[in-house]
């Protein structure tokens, strides 16, 4: 049994501890917002937070979550109120949308570490998240916008 929390709820799972967290989250917990893209930490579609830090869940064994707090895209906010989600809406960022969960989870840690990121900070923090539709120019704008919103205290 592996015990951890997901989006604030305690979980007790009987699962092979070597199973990647991605598949535990998707197949066992039914939270399908976290996506499979590559299986080798190349694309970032599976990005989640463990104790507040970004983790590529496709290569992290379930055992890594033991005793820790896991946050998935479903836990980013209950109602799209996170400034990043608001900015993503304002900039109409997603196209197919498949990579956007991972993009948002990476951006959330960036904004916590650097509340007013430069373009270079964004490049550095977001380079592990591939978007095949090419939404990068909008992602960049949306991160700046979210930073402004957070600074003004507009959105929570």
């Amino acid at each position: 049994m592996i015990a951890f929390s997901v989006n604030g709820k305690p979980i007790d799972l009987d699962v092979d501890p070597s199973t990647p967290l991605l598949w535990v989250i998707r197949d066992h917990l039914g939270l399908t917002g976290t996506k499979y893209g590559c299986g080798m930490a190349q694309c970032g579609a599976c990005t989640i937070h463990i104790d507040g830090e970004t983790v590529r869940s496709c290569v992290a064994p379930a055992s890594r979550a033991a005793g820790k707090a896991v946050t998935t895209i479903e836990g980013l906010s209950p109602d799209l109120s996170n400034p990043l989600q608001q900015a993503w809406l304002e900039e109409d960022v997603p196209q197919c949308g498949y990579c956007q969960s991972g993009q948002l989870m990476s951006a959330a840690v960036l904004l916590r570490e650097k509340p007013r990121p430069t373009d270079e900070d964004i490049d550095q923090a977001m380079t592990g998240n591939i978007c095949r539709c090419g939404t990068y120019p909008r992602i960049r704008r949306a991160i700046h916008r979210a930073a402004e919103m957070a600074a003004k205290g507009g959105a929570r």
Partner: protein, 718 residues
């Protein structure tokens, strides 16, 4: 495997996972219009819209949403003529039904950048018809003349401003006769069409709620992965599954035409067991295939005449009399579509029915092929279209490869069964159906004044249409596949002698349309060679194009717009250069100016200025997004992407060996839209073709080296 065991396993699975979170069954919203009855609380005036007493207007969309915005642009068309309250408008994917066939292509499908232009009339008419019935219902209720009523934002008003909302009129409108003729709005009165309306599908893509094919979950669903042939055409000779069979969660291991399928309770179990399989393959005829030898054969083949595609004047004679001439060979590799969501397909197979959930671009074809494998009539097969995590053409497979295989897996497992086949990234990349590799051998010449007098293009590459059910329809009696030569057969430049010839290469690598199809290579070759001719004539590449496009005002329009917005004549800092390209594809005109720098042999694209003329447009926000995405898609191919084969085996496996542009490599992109009243063209693909030649020409401006092969590798440039 018995149903009882499946059931028990499922219950155990639910309990194990119920530590505070519930497993949902993810059945994406699927219209049941085919069988839906008019009820007291819904108004179904036609196949494309449903209005509820709750004021919700649901637009049923017959095209697949793969990022290109059809779940917004098509509802906009309908809502415009309906005078709907946009905040109450939603979308739903259409079931497979002839009523949802593409008006131009005669089947239900999404491709060819055609959804908006083909839906213009359809969706506007549907909205207008519903509006007329709502007005008629209100007029009857008020006992007034319908022509005195008006509509606004989801309600009907009479002259004295009495108001009935559409929701209030649902029951009465359902009894009205649909109008024989619908008067469409004067474009001057549009409230939605032409405005940058925000997409309807964004919110659910920001909180994990959007359901893609890979997210579909059925109550007793198993998951399968397939061990496919390592070489195209190879067959399973024998396999040993003794170890795999005893691994946890494994239900069945079965052979299917494409290989060996491992069916398990969950994906990871299936994948682990697949790794434990030992399969002997009959490697077949492709075991010695390699792309190095293939390209050498293409070069040899280009030395002899091919099938004539275009022949203006006498290109050979004009070339022999030219004051100066140049020849160049351009080569592009096989490319993978590489949608972020790898292929997958869910099948619920029962003895007398089959349901399929997948991100399809080819519903009519997929349903027919699924029915064929299931041994059922097509009407016993339902296909539900989920969100597509990218399509780019891959999910419009003429043989429905990923759907057919999943039905085979279900069939081999034995009905009744619910199974989801997931392709790993490696499976997806190695599974074939690539953009074909191509070679363009071009010769051209200019006269003493620098005016081009001859252009001779010879292409070598595989045909996409050959061997597909669409071959006869697409070739239309021609001796060549138009998709192989599109974009060079209509070279617009004023050159008196032009010859285009094509050699069809017969190679057993499955090939398919990839975003912008033939234009993805013809624009690269043609727009780089026109720069080479400009160099020969010692003229500026932009001015040289201008002079040769005087009879093509829309080409000229985008060319001038891109050049002006980019500041073509303004000098750039040292070490940077600009390149330009212009191209017509899918009914739209596009021009790009790229600004690049080159450091230690590495190309960095800093800025791309894009001009697009797609005629009358619906949503400029979506046009900008598609243009940005198209430029990045084209730039990825130009800078990084190449599939190579050696000993029949593909050498690329995942994003580390077939890279996609990342945010730190991504340029600033500006989109400028030409305003006019021309016929609507496409937008999903036209942004792709100019990216590679604009970048390649910019690299020449910086380095003086001609780029004749993609992806760009400066060390081999001439």
């Amino acid at each position: 495997m018995s149903a009882g065991m499946e059931r028990r396993q499922f219950l155990k699975f639910s309990v194990a996972a119920s530590g505070g979170l519930l497993i949902g069954f993810y059945l994406p919203g699927v219209s049941t219009l085919g069988s839906a009855q008019q009820s007291a609380n819904t108004f179904l005036p036609n196949a494309f819209v449903r209005i509820g007493t709750d004021e919700r207007v649901t637009v049923i969309v017959n095209h697949s949403e793969m990022g290109q915005g059809v779940y917004t642009s098509l509802p906009m068309l309908l809502a415009e003529e309906l005078d709907a309250d946009w905040t109450k408008v939603g979308f739903e994917s259409a079931p497979v039904d002839p009523r949802y066939n593409h008006p131009a292509f005669g089947m239900q499908m999404t491709g060819g950048s055609s959804s908006v232009w083909s839906g213009l009339e359809q969706f506007r008419q549907a909205g207008g018809a519903a509006r007329a019935m709502l007005i008629a219902a209100a007029a009857q209720q008020w006992n007034t003349d319908a022509t005195t009523c008006r509509t606004d934002s989801g309600a009907v008003f009479d002259r004295s401003n009495r108001k009935l909302t559409y929701g209030q009129l649902v029951a009465a409108a359902a009894t009205m006769t649909p109008p024989a003729h619908v008067e469409l709005k004067d474009p001057k009165t549009f409230k939605l069409i032409g405005k940058p309306i925000k997409r309807l599908d964004t919110a659910e893509k920001l909180n994990g709620k959007a359901i893609f094919g890979i997210d579909v979950k059925l109550p007793r669903m198993l998951t399968a992965v397939v061990a496919r042939a390592p070489i195209f055409g190879a067959k399973v000779r024998s396999f040993d599954d003794s170890k795999a069979r005893s691994m946890p969660g494994i239900r069945k291991i079965v052979t299917v035409p494409s290989g060996v399928a491992v069916i398990a309770d969950s994906f990871w179990q299936a994948k682990m067991a697949r790794e434990a399989l030992r399969i002997e393959w009959d490697e077949g005829a492709m075991q010695s295939f390699g792309t190095i030898q293939m390209m050498e054969e293409f070069r040899q083949r280009a030395k002899s005449p091919g099938v004539s595609v275009r022949n203006d004047g006498d290109a050979a004679s004009a070339l022999s009399h030219a004051a100066k001439k140049i020849e160049a060979v351009y080569e592009v590799p096989y490319l993978a579509h590489l949608m972020m969501e790898p292929l997958n397909c869910v099948v619920d197979l029962r003895p007398d029915s089959c349901e399929v959930w997948t991100g399809s671009q080819f519903q009519t074809v997929d349903r027919a092929n699924a029915a064929n494998v299931a041994g059922l009539p097509a009407e016993k097969v339902q296909l539900h279209t989920t969100f597509l995590g990218g399509g780019f053409g891959r999910r419009a497979n003429p043989q429905s490869d990923f759907v057919v295989e999943a039905v085979h897996v279900a069939k081999a497992a034995g009905a009744p069964v619910q199974v989801k086949v997931i392709w790993t990234r490696e499976d997806d990349m190695q599974g074939g159906w690539y953009r074909p590799a191509f070679l363009h051998a071009i010769e051209g010449g200019v006269d003493a004044n620098g005016n081009p007098v001859s252009w001779k293009s010879r292409l070598v590459g595989q045909s996409i249409m050959a061997g597909t059910p669409f071959e006869a329809m697409m070739l239309k009696g021609k001796a060549y596949d138009p998709a192989s030569v599109e974009g060079i057969d209509d070279l617009p430049y004023a050159i008196p002698n032009v010859a285009v010839e094509y050699h069809k290469a017969d190679i057993n690598v499955p090939v398919q349309w990839l975003r912008s199809v033939g234009h993805s290579h013809t624009a690269f070759a043609a727009e780089c060679f026109i720069d080479e001719l400009a160099g020969l004539a010692q003229k500026d590449p932009y001015q040289f194009r201008r002079e040769l496009l005087q009879k093509h005002p829309r080409h000229l329009g985008v060319l001038d717009l891109a050049a002006e917005k980019a500041g073509w004549s303004k000098p750039l800092p040292k070490g940077m250069g600009r390149g330009i390209a212009v191209h017509f594809a899918f009914g739209s005109y596009s021009a790009h100016v790229a600004e690049v720098s080159v450091t230690d042999g590495k190309v960095r694209v800093h800025r791309m200025v894009c001009a697009i003329d797609c005629g009358q447009y619906v949503n400029p926000g979506i046009i900008a997004a598609q243009t940005e995405g198209g430029a990045i898609f084209g730039a990825s191919a130009a800078l990084y992407q190449e599939l190579t084969f050696d000993n029949g085996r593909l050498q690329q496996t995942n994003f580390h060996t077939f890279p996609v542009m990342r945010i730190n490599e991504s340029p600033q992109i500006e989109t400028h839209i030409v305003e006019n009243n021309e016929k609507s063209g496409g937008i999903g693909e036209p942004g792709v073709p100019c990216a590679a030649p604009a970048i390649a020409n910019a690299v020449f401006a910086v380095t003086g080296k001609r780029i004749r092969r993609l992806p760009i590798r400066l060390a081999e440039a001439v």
